[in-house]
């Protein structure tokens, strides 16, 4: 079994894809999927399952793929995940399921993510729907936010017979799947819209254009609209800036703004009314997945792109695959380098970024070696646009308008591992609790909260 090397996935040529927004990875075909599935050792005590935040029965679905029983494989995944085509594409499998794969000790781990994607894509293309609702149990639950946490929570609640209404602030459901992750990593119409549609087929309703905390409050939802419980999965939407001089110059944007314009508002497409500006050269500050997404988007919009990060590649929070793809496409990296000010002309437009070289010192509280400035090493890097991708924090809107809901110092909602908050009947999970994390961790939190909500509503 282990003699077979991990089946490589076919991808668009880097030089070609640097100029289009089509998906980078083509995914496996049937033969490739079956061959890759045959590598699975079918462990008695599968480590991969405990590495999965939503505990998909991975060996079982892989066995089904190996046997060419794709319907069965799709059903096994659907029991635990409502967004398999999304997760197969954007989960950091290398630190989760695949990171725990026994085969990975001596050889390369089974490509679990690519197999999940294959199965989910197969189900979609073959109209194989595993959706099955349950009779109404008399309980109404409001879910705030239609991102990964909210969708996962809504799915499990609907499967248990609750009437679930999802409220979304933007005009399209999907949260970060729609405004944050670019088309070339996660196709919006084909993949995201389809999986959200599957959730709606369970009877879940999604009302867009509702900003909870402004349009309606949680108290109004519970007292006036008769919701028995509320799940808050509103994400971490507020961008962080650096507070360095020149940050409000024309041409400095948050990664959230840059990606929202391109993704949610389709500004990359010539027929969209929403403008986006890249100039000739874009500098992206940050080393996470969002920084890679912004850099690769800017590249596709025709700019030369440099990523500036204050530590080394080893400490980058971005997935290895994303950094690898970015490099292949021609994005330059300026590592051990920290911006000190944004430079501009007399009209207030960005002309460059002043940076200082760094070196790694003693480890800090995160365990990573702390970057320290090298005195006198400042240099100016010319550019037209600066994209700041230094993370996001929770939007305080809901917490501020919900009396009795405790928050932490980052404005995140305080909740235990089951999503239980300080307000009876109000549950929370995903980035609004944890701070910016991943799609799959948010889904895991949404599922746990769904379980806690069912307990609270005394539904077994």
């Amino acid at each position: 079994m282990s003699k077979i090397p991990r089946v490589a996935v076919r991808e668009q040529d880097p030089l070609e894809r640097a100029h289009n927004f089509d998906e980078v990875s083509f995914g496996y075909n049937r033969e490739e999927a079956i061959l890759e599935a045959s590598r699975c050792l079918q462990c008695k005590n599968p480590k991969c399952v405990s590495g999965c935040p939503v505990s998909i029965n991975i060996p079982r679905f892989i066995a089904s793929v190996n046997a060419d029983h794709m319907e069965e494989a799709a059903s096994v995944i659907a029991a635990d995940s409502s967004l398999p085509a999304v997760c197969g594409r954007v989960c950091p499998q290398e630190i989760q399921c695949e990171g725990s794969c026994i085969l990975g000790i001596k050889y390369e781990p089974v490509a679990i993510g690519k197999l999940e994607r294959y199965v989910a894509d197969w189900a979609r293309k073959n109209n194989y729907s595993t959706v099955a609702g349950a009779p109404y149990n008399g309980k109404k639950v409001a879910v705030i936010g239609s991102g990964p946490a909210g969708l996962a929570c809504a799915t499990d609640l609907a499967k248990a017979g609750c009437r679930v209404a999802v409220f979304e602030a933007l005009h399209k459901p999907g949260g970060v799947l729609v405004y944050g992750i670019p088309e070339f990593r996660l196709p919006k119409d084909e993949v995201v819209a389809y999986e959200i549609d599957q959730v709606q087929k369970l009877g879940v309703t999604i009302e867009t254009n509702v900003v909870v905390g402004r349009t309606v409050t949680i108290d109004e939802l519970m007292d006036r609209e008769g919701f028995d419980a509320v799940f808050v999965g509103s994400g971490a939407g507020l961008p962080r800036f650096m507070g360095i001089p020149g940050e409000n110059l024309n041409g400095v944007v948050s990664a959230n703004e840059f990606l929202t314009r391109s993704n949610l508002m389709s500004a990359y497409s010539p027929d969209s009314d929403t403008p986006i500006y890249v100039g000739k050269h874009v500098t992206v500050i940050g080393g996470g997945n969002v920084a890679m997404d912004a850099a690769r988007t800017a590249l596709r919009l025709g700019a030369g792109v440099t990523v500036v990060y204050r530590r080394t590649e080893k400490e980058m929070p971005a997935r290895v695959e994303e950094v690898h793809h970015a490099k292949e496409e021609g994005i330059a990296f300026e590592l051990l380098c920290n911006p000190t000010s944004v430079l501009g002309n007399e009209k207030g437009w960005v002309t460059g970024l002043r940076c200082i070289r760094m070196e790694l010192g003693e480890p800090d509280e995160s365990g990573r070696r702390r970057p320290v400035e090298i005195p006198g090493s400042e240099f100016d890097k010319p550019c037209d646009v600066v994209v700041i991708a230094l993370g996001t924090v929770a939007n305080p809107l809901i917490a501020r308008t919900t009396p009795g809901l405790n928050i932490n110092k980052y404005n995140g909602i305080v909740a235990d591992e089951n999503g239980v908050t300080s307000r009876p009947g109000v549950f929370a999970g995903g980035d609004v609790v944890s701070g910016a994390a991943t799609v799959i961790l948010a889904m895991g939190a949404g599922r746990k909260a769904a379980r806690a909500i069912l307990d609270y509503l005394k539904i077994t």
Binding site: A169, L170, H171, Y179, T208, N209, V210, V211, R214, T215, V216, G237, L238, P239, F241, G243, P245, G246, E247, N248, L249, N250, G251, V253, S254, N256, E257, T260, R261, L264, M265, S266, D271, S272, D273, T274, P275, Y277, G279, K280, S341, V342, L343, G344, N345, E346, K347, G348, W349, T351, G352, R354, D380, P382, D384, N395, L397
Partner: protein, 286 residues
């Protein structure tokens, strides 16, 4: 979908629409705004709320044709519907937190420039309903562009109309009128100015010598309007603030208007500015 129940042209290029949006109508307060989209390819367009009626579920907006997106709005007719209409966004005007007792005896002055007359109206109306006296200065380029004159008259004390070309009312700028009123001995507890950024800048300069407390409403660029993008950031009191969630109303004397005006043009002048290549260290400006 959000149906348009009424469409009325107020001036050749200015149009009022009553939109059925019950959730927005029941939560709207003076000072807030909405964002709408006309179609799948359309921008998210922020517009101030001009009036609202919770019982009828109606929100009134006023649009002036200035570009492609506002042209799209004006192409909608009674019976059509906007696909997206979200709000109310932003923080309501400060005075809604005051009790009737606190408001008693207070006197307000509102300075409205052009389309800014629309968002001034619900504020004056709110105060009028609580027996608070308010004077209003409306400034417009020319007579045809004066809007809401009768509505405003019905809720304010003194209404002063200024036109740039003198075709109606006082010939001159709202700042000239402000100085005239103040020099004649008027006393106000609070002044609120809403209009083009440049007007608000000069009202701020004109009001300062009289020590008039002044609030302005900043119509910055926005994408989501919920605090997500930061396109709306403005410097107020030396700190970066998000106009969409921390505003849109701010203490005028703390606002960096020059930066705000420059940032408004971010997507207007990109072509003409692109070849500038002169380096200025912003440190040296501090």
């Amino acid at each position: 979908m959000f149906p348009i129940l009424k469409k009325q042209m107020l001036a050749p290029n200015i149009c009022l629409m009553d939109v059925l949006a019950p959730r927005v109508a029941s939560s709207a307060r003076p000072g807030q705004f909405i964002i709408l989209r006309t179609d799948a390819k359309g921008e998210r367009i922020p517009l101030t709320i001009c009036d609202y009626n919770a019982d009828r579920g109606i929100v009134t907006i006023v649009t002036q044709m200035v570009g492609a997106s506002s042209r799209k709005i004006l192409s909608f007719n009674e019976g059509d519907a906007f696909p997206d209409f979200v709000g109310p966004l932003g923080i309501p005007s400060e005075f809604i937190h005051f009790t009737d007792q606190q408001l008693k005896g207070k006197k307000y002055l509102f300075i409205a420039g052009g389309l800014g007359t629309a968002p001034v109206y619900p504020q004056v109306k709110y105060l009028h309903e609580r027996d608070v006296r308010a004077d209003v200065i409306i400034g417009a380029k020319t007579k045809d562009l004066v809007i809401f004159e009768n509505e405003m008259k019905s809720v304010c004390d003194n209404l002063y109309i200024c036109t740039d070309d003198g075709s109606y009312g006082f010939k001159g700028l709202v700042t000239d009128k402000l100085k005239e009123i103040m020099n004649n001995g008027a006393v106000y507890d609070q002044v609120v100015a809403i209009g083009p950024m440049v007007m608000m800048k000069f009202v701020t300069l004109a009001a300062k010598p009289y020590n008039l407390p002044l609030i302005v409403s900043l119509n910055t660029l926005m994408v989501d309007g919920t605090g997500m993008c930061g396109a709306c950031r403005v410097t107020v009191g030396g700190k970066t603030r998000f106009a969409c969630v921390e505003g849109p109303e701010f203490d005028a004397y703390q606002v960096d208007f020059d930066e705000a005006m420059r940032r408004q043009g971010m997507y207007k002048t990109q072509e003409t500015e692109a070849d500038h290549n002169c380096f200025i260290d912003l440190h040296s400006h501090e």
